[in-house]
Symmetry: C2
């Protein structure tokens, strides 16, 4: 049983702990929170730490980090230094410079694994998409959409600076929501040859929504995402005459294949109630038997690095700088 520590006490940490415990591979033992009360509210039984050093030396095997993006780098580095396995929410790091530094630290702690919690790519319905794509004769293009009005945008309009819409926290539409479609695209199609990001910037310089174009040798892919409007579009992968339709690239509730004759077949199965269970299981399997999963881990790690590169290139193409870029 892996002793699990958690940084961040919001809804996504709660969901991950539920998923982790449901796999029966983890047990929550430690919670780090800036405020003791928030930690206690999060868990009645775990030990609560307001000091990060004490948290990392509390005997945990693995930490799940869901703090604001800009804090990931320092917290992940500290975890690795303590030989604690790391699961960090996406986007993992602000830029390739941070990723490189983490890589160097990992080299000195060869037993530690670093996982980016891209939950959707581990789900059965994502694997159904991968199998269908592999089975299609031609890919002509694709559109991935993840755009939903956020209550945090109400806060922005009211004059506040919510974390998820502030460059100080390495946040914005691309790194918070765009990371879902970008992860899916890079997992399915590899590194693009060229990328462009058309961002609608807020007064504070963060991106509220945007459209990214990822160019491949034979086709282009569009990703549309944002927090300041409601899109009802599906995601879609275009073959020659056939098409894959995906209701939501993050939630993956319904995936349908429409063949060349226009006949629809659902290729998805009922999505698990907790969408983080699949990734929690994958990470536990690798941690518990690393030698049997060398290739799988390597692939995930490389994917994480590629996504980090693509996100940064997109951001640069839109002229969006994070303070972390100049750290």
């Amino acid at each position: 049983m892996l002793k699990l520590g958690v940084i961040g006490t919001n809804w996504i940490s709660k969901m991950f702990v539920d998923a982790a415990e449901a796999t029966q591979a983890y047990t929550l033992t430690s919670v780090y929170s800036r405020r003791e009360a928030s930690g206690r509210e999060f868990s009645e039984s775990a030990a609560i730490y307001t000091d990060l050093e004490a948290f990392f030396t509390s005997g945990i095997d693995v930490v799940y980090i869901a703090s604001p993006n800009s804090l990931h780098f320092q917290q992940v580095a500290q975890a690795i230094e303590h030989d604690v396995q790391v699961i960090v929410e996406k986007s993992a790091f602000s830029n390739p410079k941070e990723f490189e530094k983490i890589y160097s630290i990992l080299r000195e702690h060869p037993t530690v694994h670093l996982f980016e919690a891209a939950r959707h790519i581990h789900q059965d319905n994502f694997k159904a998409i991968e199998a269908q794509v592999a089975d299609m004769d031609v890919i002509s293009g694709a559109t991935f959409v993840y755009e939903k009005y956020s209550s945090r945008f109400d806060a922005y309009l009211a004059g506040e600076e919510p974390n998820v819409l502030t460059r100080t926290f390495s946040a914005g539409a691309l790194t918070d929501l765009g990371v879902y479609p970008i992860y899916a695209i890079v997992k399915l199609f590899g590194l693009p040859e060229d990328v462009y990001y058309f961002a609608t910037k807020l007064a504070n310089g963060a991106d509220g929504r945007g459209t990214a174009i990822l160019r491949y040798a034979d086709f282009d892919i569009t990703a549309q995402f944002g927090k300041m409007a409601n899109s009802y579009q599906r995601s879609e992968i275009l073959g020659r005459k056939d098409t894959i339709l995906i209701d939501n690239i993050a939630e993956l509730g319904d995936v349908t294949y429409v063949d060349a004759d226009g006949k629809s077949v659902e290729i998805s199965t009922t999505a698990p109630e907790n969408p983080m269970m699949a990734e929690a299981q994958v990470f536990a399997d690798i941690i518990n038997d690393p030698d049997a999963h060398t290739d799988e881990y390597e692939e995930l790690f490389m994917l994480s690095q590629r996504v980090n590169m693509v996100l940064t290139q997109l951001r640069q193409s839109a002229g969006i700088e994070f303070p972390a870029d100049h750290a």
Copy 2:
């Protein structure tokens, strides 16, 4: 009753003649076709001409031109020289140079009107979209999609060079299908500040599909169109929390407004059986009483010129040249 001549004997000419006659403002009198037999097949009662000069001096008041795009310029010029009113299928001209020359000729024939047959923007359901857009507090972005696999792409794959996928005819996905979303966008939102076109080019250099980005001061708009794959996406205009959904930006069968609370209201009415009737009526009204419609005509003419500019800028951004650009 306007005496109508037609150039081009394909399905779209047939549809226009049906629409024109249904308005009871036109009567078909002359058909130009390279082959007499095609002309006779098109109409049993009209006079058939295989010589363009004879066609234009046959006493017609107005000509509807649905020849390949690259032939429009010469045929329109000739029509104006004969003081024949002109309705030309979209895309009207290959580039702004052609448009300018036509404008000069029009100045010498002040009674002649030039109409581009952008049928969708004249429909009631398009006006419903315009009214809804005008009523929305904020526009955050939009996506317009018109992408359908064409049997002509089968021909291309079989080694042929179909007109609609050949630069020699100033054709391709943008000028043949993209013109629908681009027309809608420029009519609704005016001239963009900046445009980008990501085209998937065929071996012959024509665009088989593509994604265009039109940037405005406060938002970006995406247009997706093509002839080499099947998209099932709707078109969509994003407000703040509210959204307009359009089943098909060319056909405009169903337009729905989803308000900030997620409540849907259909704002479209049953589309007319013949989608070209609305434009045929508008053009006849202007021709029959020009003084009462000066502003309306001016607006349509300016819109046509703007669309011509935007299409050309998009094409240039993708490095797609037409032979007509060097004429």
